[in-house]
């Protein structure tokens, strides 16, 4: 094959790679360079989720007398739906504008709801997946270049809105924007679920992640969220310290969560449940935090017991050897597996931009 023929074949192959190719073309048009990073941006730059806006108030004693594994509280709840998000932002290149290095990111954002029927799972609705290219628009001198990709059906062009002329801040800003998109996708999916399934309050949705910042109007009694991170920067995070001694299969004190910003109070209730015995493990082992809305403190206590009973049962099957397997319930692992199976791997993306 001659050089021209080879180039044509390569061009055809590249064209078939869809959105990665579009980003590569955009970078070329911006006279930028491919510079894929080794790690994903979320590992380098943690987005502040806003826990510092919330205050905890304990109004209950830990229910240490109830072993939810041995003596589950009677209830009519069925943990039927499970949701999780996926977010992966990768630095793939940069371009130079008046001496300023400007990063270009490729991010995949997604959310999914799985439905459990007779111990087996199927996808509820349609998984939300978006492929994004992020860059601060204000550094692009020829805005026409952005117009050419703006209406692309394969990839979403997103302004990463950097506040400062600082390369690292631009990268953090890109991660933040990805986070916003992810939250938006999750919100849309949850809204659909609420519309179609949320009315039957015995059929519970278990979301993975933070819901404290959501208005209570967007939540229902059959919607709970779990978080595997024990320490988060609440305004009075010292309250969490006492939770570390919760025995196996017990729950800690139910705490009221109050939004102290002007959007507040949006009161919610949260507590820790020890999912497993912690012999030969650290104090955070198996500690899963659950957040719900409730009509009253009494209502919150009653439902905390019911949900704890349900969640302790979810410790099996174990998700070992996944990260945080002591707290990661199997349906949430499955959500992640599903989303991961739909997207190109981090290595694929890195390799693509590294060789171009």
């Amino acid at each position: 094959m001659d050089e021209e023929g080879r180039s044509q074949v390569i061009a055809q192959i590249e064209e078939s790679r869809g959105h990665l190719h579009r980003i590569h073309r955009l970078l070329a048009d911006l006279k930028g360079r491919n510079s894929p990073a080794e790690s994903i941006e979320e590992d380098l730059f943690r987005v502040r989720e806003g826990y510092h806006n919330f205050r905890l108030d304990a109004f209950d004693q830990p229910a240490s007398e109830v072993n939810f594994n041995r003596d589950p509280v009677p209830h009519s709840l069925n943990l039927r739906f499970f949701s999780r998000t996926l977010q992966r932002t990768q630095l793939v290149g940069h371009f130079l504008v008046k001496g300023q290095e400007v990063p270009v990111h490729y991010s995949i954002t997604g959310a999914i709801v799985l439905q459990r029927v007779d111990r087996r799972f199927k996808v509820w609705g349609t998984p939300a997946l978006r492929y994004n290219v992020l860059l601060p628009f204000r550094y692009v001198e020829n805005q026409g270049l952005l117009d050419s990709i703006r209406n692309d059906s394969l990839i979403h062009l997103v302004d990463s809105e950097a506040d400062r002329d600082e390369y690292t801040q631009m990268r953090i800003s890109a991660v933040r924007r990805s986070h916003e998109i992810t939250r938006q996708l999750r919100g849309e999916l949850h809204a659909q679920w609420r519309e179609k399934e949320g009315r039957d309050l015995t059929q519970v949705m278990v979301a993975d992640g933070m819901i404290e910042d959501l208005p209570n109007g967007e939540l229902t009694d059959n919607f709970i969220a779990t978080s595997r991170t024990v320490y988060v920067p609440w305004q009075n995070s010292e309250l969490v310290e006492s939770q570390l001694t919760i025995p196996a299969y017990r729950r800690g004190a139910v705490m009221k969560v109050t939004d102290t910003t002007e959007k507040g109070p949006n009161t919610k209730y949260t507590w820790f449940t020890r999912m497993r015995g912690k012999s030969q493990a650290g104090p955070e082992f198996g500690l899963l935090r659950t957040t719900i809305i409730a009509d009253s403190e009494q209502d919150a206590l009653e439902r905390a017991n019911a949900f704890s009973s349900c969640l302790v049962q979810e410790r099996l099957p174990v998700t070992y050897p996944a990260d945080n397997w002591d707290k990661l319930i199997f349906p949430h692992k499955l959500c992640n597996d599903f989303l991961e199976s739909m997207i190109p791997t981090q290595t694929t993306v890195k390799s693509y931009f590294a060789r171009m």
Binding site: L79, R116, V123, P127, Q313, P317, V318, Y320, L334
Partner: protein, 586 residues
């Protein structure tokens, strides 16, 4: 989620109606190659099994056909420890709220693809192939359309369809290829029944198409196996589900359910009972054969083992043969009389040698020749019985000769087999000048082929070279050897290698460890240990992959299941004896 059926350029080849049974995928650990691909089975695909033929339809609209050669299940478990923990630390009765994802993966060996590029497939929706797709994939369509298809059985695909499987006659009875070899453990009524079915299939197709003139010579080496080819199979009086399925198979394959016609049975003469033969069939339908000295004089050395017939004895026999020709000695009785006279002369004290040979060697040779009539009773004319040969000149298109040699020992069987084989061989290579010969191909069938062409060079097998020769050159002149044995590993490799069609029935694990089976995928090989009665694995020269097939009960009764009317035989014997005495009186 969106469901989409792929566009296919060959919709007749793919069973879209049954629905997709999975999707091909290529992983880091199990990448697809040009020779095979993997797919995971759809949740409801419960009918797929090893040996099924599927088609993967790729985005370009092409279909890649293949045989499922491996099935494995994968559960979402990293290791046994995690599953142990998931069951509350080892309690098998615990049922967690979520069931672990469990999938089945199939490995498919590629048979053929509708595109002409040799490259692996990536993504593709997998369906069962239709009978048309199977026929195209296996390459049967071409020769079946040209009237060269010989039905051998059906392949039952996972969608429930019965796919007729045809062999190419040019690769079964020549001239492009020839011979069939079949192995499998005994007692499952597969090997002999399949040969009977295949013979029926060959003769009917050839006669119908008037394309070739085929005759058959079958050797019955044990029991009553092949003695009743002309008797209908009583199994077909039954209406049980399997018998009905067999009828369906005949229908699919286009073969009539009638027993064989034009069958003649021959067996060695039984001197103890006039009119009888050394055969288990006693209804008077068996014709006898017996040979004169001149007919077997060249074969006599092969009737003895090496201990009895060493080089010294052989040297003596050369001189005896010379005398047989010179004197001439015309019968075995005359030979024995002459030898006795020679023995008397040699026994005199002053005689130290017989025609230059040690006296002991002459005695040994004489003793062997003396014993011949006893060892091979019924094969050699003695006591004034005239020679009656197997009338091979009477073979014609569609006729079947069954030569019953079960009464003979291995060496006797080998001699009869070799003599008849050579005579037919000779008849076929000679020009048919007088137009008498009404066949241009002959199918030979012999069971326990390992006795005649053993793999072990140390095992004595006087006709091994003849069998090898026939296998190497028979295809071009119209001789086709259907050989059957329990263990293919015990057969001379040249015989197996020259067989265009190989058939494997149920086989023991030790035999499957031998090199004859090493080309098979492990799961396929292991399946051979448990294949049910009536099922076999077929490898044909025209197929790129082997196929599991089923075949129906043959139309003729299995010999071991046929009971003759003993009263009628007794009555016939009495009449025969009375007639004999009356003749004497007259």
């Amino acid at each position: 989620m969106q469901n989409r059926r792929p566009e296919c350029k060959f919709p007749d080849f793919v069973n879209f109606e049954f629905g997709s049974i999975g999707k091909s995928a290529s992983t880091r650990a199990n990448p697809n190659t040009a020779q095979y691909f993997y797919f995971w089975l759809a949740a409801g695909a419960t009918t797929l099994e090893l040996g099924n033929i599927v088609a993967a339809v790729t985005d370009d609209g092409h279909a890649t056909f293949g045989t499922v050669v491996e099935l494995s299940t994968v559960m979402d478990i990293e290791n046994f420890l995690s599953d142990y923990i998931s069951h509350d630390f080892g309690d098998p009765n615990v049922s967690p709220p979520s069931d672990l994802a469990e999938i089945m993966i199939a490995k498919v060996n590629v048979i053929r693809a509708t595109h002409d590029r040799i490259r692996p497939i990536g993504r593709g929706s997998v369906y069962f192939a239709t009978p048309e797709g199977v026929a195209w994939g296996l390459g049967m369509s071409d020769y079946v359309e040209e009237g060269r298809g010989i039905p051998i059985g059906v392949m039952e695909n996972g969608d429930g369809s019965l796919v007729p499987i045809f062999l190419d006659d040019e690769f079964l009875i020549g001239p492009e290829g020839s011979h069939m070899n079949m192995s499998g453990i005994s007692g499952l009524a597969t090997k002999t029944s399949l040969v009977e079915f295949l013979l029926k299939s060959i003769l009917e197709k050839m006669i119908k198409t008037d394309k070739r003139k085929v005759a058959a010579v079958f050797f019955n080496v044990k029991g009553k196996d092949l003695l009743y080819l002309d008797k209908p199979n009583p199994q077909y009086e039954s209406n049980d589900p399997y018998t009905n399925k067999c009828r369906q198979m005949y229908d699919v394959l286009g073969i009539e359910m009638t027993p064989f016609e034009n069958v003649r049975v021959f067996a060695p003469y039984d001197r103890n009972s006039d009119g009888h033969t050394k055969s288990f069939r006693r209804d008077g339908k068996v014709e006898h054969f017996i040979w004169d000295l001149n007919e077997i004089v060249e074969d006599i050395p092969y009737l003895f083992d090496r201990d009895s017939w060493d080089e010294s004895v052989d040297a003596v026999y050369v001189d005896i043969k010379d005398q047989i020709e010179r004197q001439p000695i015309r019968s075995y009785d005359q030979l024995i009389a002459w030898i006795n006279e020679e023995r008397r002369v040699v026994s005199q004290g002053h005689v130290t040698h017989w025609r230059g040979h040690e006296k002991e060697d002459f005695y040994k040779c004489a003793k062997n020749l003396d014993a011949l009539s006893g060892l091979y009773d019924g094969l050699i004319c003695t006591g004034g019985v005239d020679q009656v040969d197997v009338p091979l000149e009477d073979l014609y298109n569609g006729s079947i000769f069954v030569v019953d040699i079960q009464s003979l020992n291995d060496r006797g069987q080998a001699m009869v087999f070799s003599k008849i084989l050579k005579r037919v061989y000779k008849a076929l290579i000679e020009d048919n000048k007088d137009g008498h010969r009404d066949f241009d191909s002959v199918v030979f069938f012999i069971d326990e082929l390992n006795k005649f062409a053993p793999e072990d060079p140390l095992t004595s097998a006087p006709i091994k070279q003849s069998v090898v020769e026939i296998c190497a050159r028979g295809r071009s002149i119209g001789v086709s050897l259907f050989g059957v044995e329990q263990f293919m590993s015990q057969i001379e490799p040249q015989v197996v290698d020259n067989s265009s069609t190989l058939i494997y029935g149920r086989t023991g694990p030790a035999e499957l460890m031998t090199k004859n089976y090493s080309w098979l995928d492990v799961d396929m090989r292991n399946r051979l240990t448990t294949v049910p009665k009536g099922t076999f694995l077929l490898k044909h020269a025209k197929f790129t992959q082997p196929v599991f097939c089923k075949f129906p009960f043959p139309t003729c009764v299995p010999g071991d299941q046929y009971e003759e009317d003993l009263e009628a035989i007794k009555e016939r014997d009495q009449i025969s004896a009375f007639a004999f005495r009356r003749d004497l009186d007259e």
